[in-house]
């Protein structure tokens, strides 16, 4: 057992976990942040994507101990109170989700994609960049639409800040 200290969604957290504990299990089981999901056991599906120090990471591929000292953001941590993150709003407005299971990971990956590409996103790039996230419901059509829509909204939001 080890004590892990990290920041999750802006709050300092300390937890005692088995050394083999994955970050996703620390989030879900110890911290009760169940918005981050587990959809596979081979790091393929991306339902567990969170941000570590601002970058999208599959939290099933990181030991909790490796995240010690870092700043972790989960799907629960991206809206400002009642105000949705532009990516969340874009997924809702473009029907970018159905069963909702892959959605948190999709949103966290997509925010990172937009952050990396800024205004230079096109459909082909979004499709390529989403290779680490599997959705079985939407056929990706409306997810791609959501990400492109959000890219515009995030640009506007950044300009406003």
């Amino acid at each position: 057992m080890s004590t892990i200290k990290l920041t999750v969604n802006g709050k300092a957290v300390s937890a005692e976990v088995e050394d083999r504990t994955l970050l996703v299990h620390l989030l879900r089981e110890t911290l009760n942040l169940t918005g981050t999901h587990v959809g596979c056991d081979t790091s393929q599906c991306g339902t567990c994507v969170v941000h570590i120090d601002g970058k999208a990471v599959k939290s099933c591929t990181v030991l909790a101990g490796q995240a010690a000292g870092s700043n972790v953001t989960t799907i629960e941590g991206i809206s400002k109170g009642d105000e949705l993150h532009p990516m969340q709003a874009a997924f809702r407005d473009n029907h970018g989700l159905q069963c909702g299971y892959c959605t948190p990971g999709m949103i966290m990956s997509s925010i990172d994609i937009v952050n990396r590409y800024g205004g230079k996103l096109d459909e082909e790039t979004v499709r390529h960049e989403l290779e680490g996230n599997i959705c079985r419901c939407t056929g990706y059509h409306n997810i791609v639409k959501s990400v492109l829509d959000a890219a515009g909204r995030m640009k506007v939001a950044q300009a406003a800040e």
Binding site: D41, T42, H95, Q98, C99, G100, R136, V144
Partner: protein, 779 residues
């Protein structure tokens, strides 16, 4: 019907919780005292269990209990059942082998559970499961249809000689044979419909809690139909009495058929929760999902189509072997029979059809309904034959289809179905226009000049949805009725709760069902809540599959609404001192036509509950229920056209364009309907290009992870161009047909027709991987 009523693309009410991480799936639920289950599974596809040594596992840290297959048999827990009886052509019943929830003596597929460990933590259960020592004696394996039906094949079940479960026929054999004899041309094809793994993104899970004081069980589970689960668990598996069992299916992360069935794991969790007298949670991992979720498809078919000299189809003859895996899953028997062969007429006027279906056992995971369930296989047979015929007869594939379309309705096919309405020409026109069919030869020539092989493929599908008229399916062997129930509760303040037996696991019922109610009353959808997925709240229901929720589930709501409105109008008339016949409902108010007199819905509701001033003899309250049993199936149909380009150097297929023109009848929420089509198309394209479950000859699943089984990813798929034509369904009050499965039913034939057109070789199996396409080009 107002801005949020039927026909409006309103954004979904349920989305906020999913996009903020507040969805509540089974694995998200915690209960005080929870223990965790991990199953010990057979590594062999066929073996005799010589012994199981659980002593070491029992002594491991945190272990609460270790339970084996023999114990579940000793406790008289029932074997898993198949709920649809199929009769063979010789009049005998289907040959169902016993399927205990954990194997006591013989394992028949790799991954079958033989024991379960219950421990304080998930890791402790997993560690202790590794300490269970099972001594197996391996038996010979039949890992596919061909291996199972050859003489001397290993026998899976003593009940099923030659591994044949049934040999079933439909249609007129003699008349069909005669039509073939008289035919001017005959087209034939050998078709493999590849085996698929459903892979809903949320793995299956169950939490079972037993209260010994009340002798009451609660089961949270990933189910598309919690009431059917409760019925089966109580009536057939003897684990709990129906009134002492609550089944809850909370947010469920996709189903696609695979969560219809009641699986061994939730049975064991329920049974074990009483054995150890602690709540038990089991959450499958993806590897377990690959090995134990019911797979889909897996047919070997020989199909022939006969034409007269005018290129009119005169007959269709089909012989199909269907692989049902090692055991008969809940609805497995119906999928390759009544959900498949009854759709073999496609969109065409075919006077003679005869089909024979032989279902067999193999040492593989059980096979059952997966999105489309039988109808994709039927559509693939018919549409591959049509395309092949056009090439053989040297006529345009669109024109050959058009020549043979059914154009008058109702139309009775030779294989049970009576199509009620449709306009197949309209959807084909719409799709051809969307893809610029006329301009294709020029595009093909241009691509050729650039060294690319370009092809176009059509698929005109029809399916039977709105499952199903209870009397009809009962006469065909179904063990259940397929009606739906609804209850409308108007609260004293005028807000409304709709209780439905349908279950949403991505379909958006919380929005679309509310749209129906909101539209009828002229109130915002925010005033309407949908309650589903809990047997303590909703009295009964048949769940969601077979694209039935709109056609059957919403029709039940419609009926209940009519009753509520009738009573509310009586109250309003009484309050307004007007004639009931003069009351109309508009914008949330009950108005007396031709006057300015009105009373708002909340006041009517309040009057119903205060009961101070109701018409004489009227009961207080405003709540009505209804059961709706459809009179016929519904028949969504459409035309899909796909244009692709193949790189002859690599064999890789890329999409140029994919258009879909569907006739779903009335659209409740076009945005949600289109989302359903996108997802279905992705699964159909996945089957055509990417997906395939592969077993080796020893019965090991070689494609048992997302590393090995190719799920469609964003860059495998194009953006889709959708359009709709509409013939309203006359069989239900809403005119809806269902849209959940169409994409998966129609897409794969369009893709394979396009690739074979491009490469000039019709011999191509699914999935048409670059490797297979390259070999089809280069030999």
């Amino acid at each position: 019907m107002g801005v949020e009523g039927i026909g409006a693309s309103v954004v979904r009410k349920e989305d906020r919780r999913f996009i903020t991480g507040r969805g509540r799936y089974v694995d998200d639920i915690k209960i005080v005292g929870l223990t965790h289950a991990h199953f010990v599974r057979s590594p062999h596809a066929h073996a005799k269990i010589k012994s199981i040594d659980i002593a070491a596992a029992k002594g491991m840290p945190g272990v609460v209990g270790v339970l084996t297959g023999q114990q579940i048999v000793d406790d008289k827990v029932g074997n898993l059942i198949c709920g649809w009886a199929i009769t063979s052509k010789d009049g005998t019943g289907m040959k169902m082998g016993a399927w205990p929830a954990m194997a006591p003596e013989i394992v028949r597929f790799a991954g079958q559970a033989v024991a379960v460990v219950i421990a304080e933590t998930k890791n402790q259960a997993r560690d202790a499961a590794e300490a269970v020592v099972v001594d197996y004696e391996e038996l010979p394996v039949a890992s596919d249809i061909r291996a199972a039906i050859k003489p001397g094949a290993p026998q899976l079940h003593p009940e099923a000689a030659g591994n044949v479960i049934y040999d079933w026929t439909i249609g007129e054999e003699a008349a069909t044979d005669a039509a073939f004899k008289a035919a001017a041309n005959v087209v034939s094809l050998d078709i493999t419909n590849n085996r698929l793994v459903p892979n809903a993104m949320e793995p299956r899970a169950a939490i079972a809690e037993y209260n010994d004081a009340e002798e009451h069980f609660t089961l949270y589970t990933t189910s598309q139909n919690p009431h059917v689960a409760r019925l089966v668990l109580s009536a057939f598996y003897n684990i709990a009495q129906e009134h002492k069992l609550r089944v809850v299916a909370p947010d469920v992360g996709g189903g696609f058929g695979s969560k219809i069935f009641i699986y061994p794991e939730e049975m064991v969790a329920l049974w074990a929760s009483k054995k150890v007298n602690r709540p038990v949670k089991w959450t499958g991992d993806r590897s377990e999902a690959f090995l134990t979720d019911a797979h889909g498809r897996d047919h070997l078919t020989k199909a022939e189509m006969a034409f007269d000299k005018d290129n009119k189809v005169t007959a269709l003859r089909v012989k199909t072997y269907a692989n049902l895996g090692a055991y008969m899953s809940l609805f497995s028997s119906s999928v390759p029979t009544y959900l498949y062969a009854t759709l073999l007429s496609g969109q065409y006027n075919i006077p003679n059809i005869f089909a024979e279906v032989i279902s067999v056992y193999t040492n593989t995971t059980p096979v059952d309904a997966y999105r489309g369930a039988g109808r994709p296989e039927a559509s693939f047979v018919v549409e591959r034959l049509m395309e092949t015929a056009a090439r053989q007869l040297k006529v345009d594939p669109a024109e050959l289809r058009r020549k043979n379309f059914i154009t008058t309705f109702p139309h009775q096919t030779p294989v049970i179905m009576a199509y009620d309405v449709g306009d197949f020409g309209a959807s084909l026109d719409s799709a051809m226009k969307a893809i610029d069919y006329a301009g294709f030869p020029a595009r093909k020539a241009k691509a050729k000049a650039e060294g690319k092989l370009r092809g176009i493929g059509i698929s005109c599908y029809i399916e039977a949805c709105g499952i199903a008229p209870s009397k009809a399916v009962g006469s065909l062997g179904a063990g259940v009725g397929l009606w739906e129930s609804a209850e409308v509760r108007v609260n004293p303040v005028g807000t409304i709760e709709i209780l439905t037996g349908s279950h949403s696991h991505g379909q958006g019922h919380e929005t679309t069902f509310a749209q129906l109610v909101a539209g009828r009353l002229g109130i915002p959808i925010s005033q309407v809540s949908i309650v589903h997925g809990d047997t303590d709240k909703v009295q009964f229901g048949m769940g969601t599959y077979g694209s039935r929720s709109a056609a059957v589930g919403m029709s039940a709501i419609f009926k209940a609404m009519e009753k509520v409105e009738a009573k509310a109008k009586k109250i309003a008339a009484h309050q307004l001192e007007a004639s009931e016949a003069d009351i109309v409902i508009e914008n949330g108010e009950f108005k007396v036509t031709g006057t300015d007199k009105s009373i708002a819905l909340p006041m009517v509701a309040l009057a119903a509950y205060t009961a101070h001033n109701l018409p004489d003899g009227m009961e207080p309250g405003l709540k009505e229920g209804a059961f709706y049993d459809p009179t016929n199936f519904t028949f969504p149909a459409g035309a899909y056209i796909c244009e692709i380009e193949v790189d002859s150097g690599t064999g890789k297929t890329s999409f140029v364009n994919f258009v879909a023109a569907d006739d779903f009848g009335t659209l409740i929420n076009p945005m949600i309907v289109e989302g359903q089509v996108h997802g279905g198309l992705a699964q159909g394209i996945g089957q055509a290009l990417l997906e395939g479950a592969v077993y080796d000859s020893s019965g090991q699943l070689m494609t048992a992870s997302f590393m090995d089984y190719t799920m469609p990813r964003a860059d495998d798929l194009p953006s889709f161009k959708l359009s709709h034509t509409t013939t309203e369904c006359p069989g239900n009050p809403l005119g809806v047909k269902g849209c959940g499965e169409a994409g998966a039913i129609g897409a794969s034939a369009a893709v394979i027709n396009a690739i074979t057109d491009a490469i000039g070789n019709n011999k191509l199996e699914m999935p048409a991987s670059p490797d297979r396409v390259w070999h089809a080009i280069h030999g």
